[in-house]
């Protein structure tokens, strides 16, 4: 699903600030970036390695992007897709972004007007602590218990 507001916003910021070190996976966006290196879709291996090498990540408020950035300890700024602009099915990304921001895990720009300033700040961020590559021990226990019958289900 395209997310032109984000692609256009980051491209404009890169142009205004003379940044030539931005790479974007833009999917099937209609907007063609003029200032940033970009590709339609890259594979998960390249996605992860490009993220690992980055100083910071800018993405929609999707869990694939957020969890991968947290696993790699790369600061991440998200802008939520909006259901009413048909960028996704509903406005769940707004709630996701707000909740993860409240937890101190991510940076958020609620829309394209907040994006340039958030991008300015992002480049000052230090690399964050990485999270473990696994789910919480509690959740792993619950799944194990379910599969192997170690615990009686409620």
């Amino acid at each position: 699903m395209p997310f032109d507001r984000l692609v256009r916003g980051v491209d404009g910021w890169a142009g205004a600030n003379g940044r030539s070190d931005v790479f974007a996976q833009i999917g099937d966006a209609e907007y063609v970036p003029r200032h940033i290196e970009h590709a339609g879709k890259i594979g998960p291996g390249e996605f992860r390695s490009r993220m690992a090498e980055a100083d910071a990540v800018v993405a929609h408020a999707g869990m694939g992007s957020i969890l991968t950035a947290l696993e790699l300890g790369v600061p991440i700024l998200v802008m939520p897709r909006l259901g009413r602009l048909k960028e996704t099915r509903n406005d769940h990304q707004v709630a996701t972004a707000e909740r993860f921001k409240a937890m101190g895990r991510i940076e958020v720009a609620m829309d394209e007007t907040e994006l340039p300033e958030a991008l300015d700040r992002l480049t000052d961020l230090r690399r964050a602590d990485t999270i473990s590559a696994q789910a919480s021990p509690e959740l792993l226990d619950a799944v194990r218990g379910f599969i192997f019958g170690a615990r009686t289900p409620r």
């Binding site: 594979g43 998960p44 291996g45 408020a61 999707g62 869990m63 694939g64 992007s65 957020i66 969890l67 991968t68 947290l70 099915r89 769940h92 990304q93 709630a95 996701t96 909740r99 999270i131 473990s132 590559a133 696994q134 789910a135 919480s136 021990p137 509690e138 959740l139 792993l140 226990d141 619950a142 799944v143 194990r144 379910f146 599969i147 192997f148 019958g149 289900p153 409620r154």
Partner: protein, 152 residues
């Protein structure tokens, strides 16, 4: 306790659903695991585990959903897993509905992205799955899903 290794069908669509499934994968150790997903390149991440592809679809794309349903039915009939575990979305919904009909046990783990309410698939699958988990404590309830921690 089972006499043999349980056979697990681990099901997720692409992106965040898949990343979350991979984060609970350590809990599958000791089981025979067959992953079912929509993105061919994920195969490289699962090592020796089984790997089956189905077509990608959302609930807005009825024809593809039917194809996905048939593919999942075929996988279930061939593999006859003891349990189905899914982090969503559409493929997990189908795998749990059909898997239950074939006698498998089923666990739905709703995506951590759903912080205000359970996903639509989650709400629909809850009464069919043996266990339905939310990753947010405030969404758990007596008549709702359970909370048992999160993927992070």
């Amino acid at each position: 306790m089972s006499r043999r290794r349980p056979k697990i069908l681990a099901v997720a669509s692409g992106g965040g659903h898949w990343v979350q499934l991979r984060r609970i994968a350590p809990a599958f150790e000791g089981a025979e695991v067959i992953y079912v997903t929509v993105e061919p390149s994920y195969r490289a991440q699962v090592g020796d585990a089984g790997f089956r592809l189905v077509v990608d679809a959302t609930r807005w794309n009825k024809l593809r959903l039917v194809r996905m349903l048939l593919q999942i039915a075929w996988i279930l009939l061939r593999e006859r897993p003891d349990a189905v575990v899914s982090t969503g979305a559409a493929p997990g919904f189908f795998a749990i509905r059909l898997g239950k009909l074939l006698g498998a046990r089923a666990m739905w783990i709703d995506s951590i992205a759903n912080v205000e309410r359970l996903s639509m698939s989650g709400q629909k699958i809850m009464r069919h799955a043996d266990r339905c988990l939310t990753q947010w404590e405030h969404l758990a309830g007596d008549s709702g899903p359970d909370y048992e921690g999160a993927v992070l």
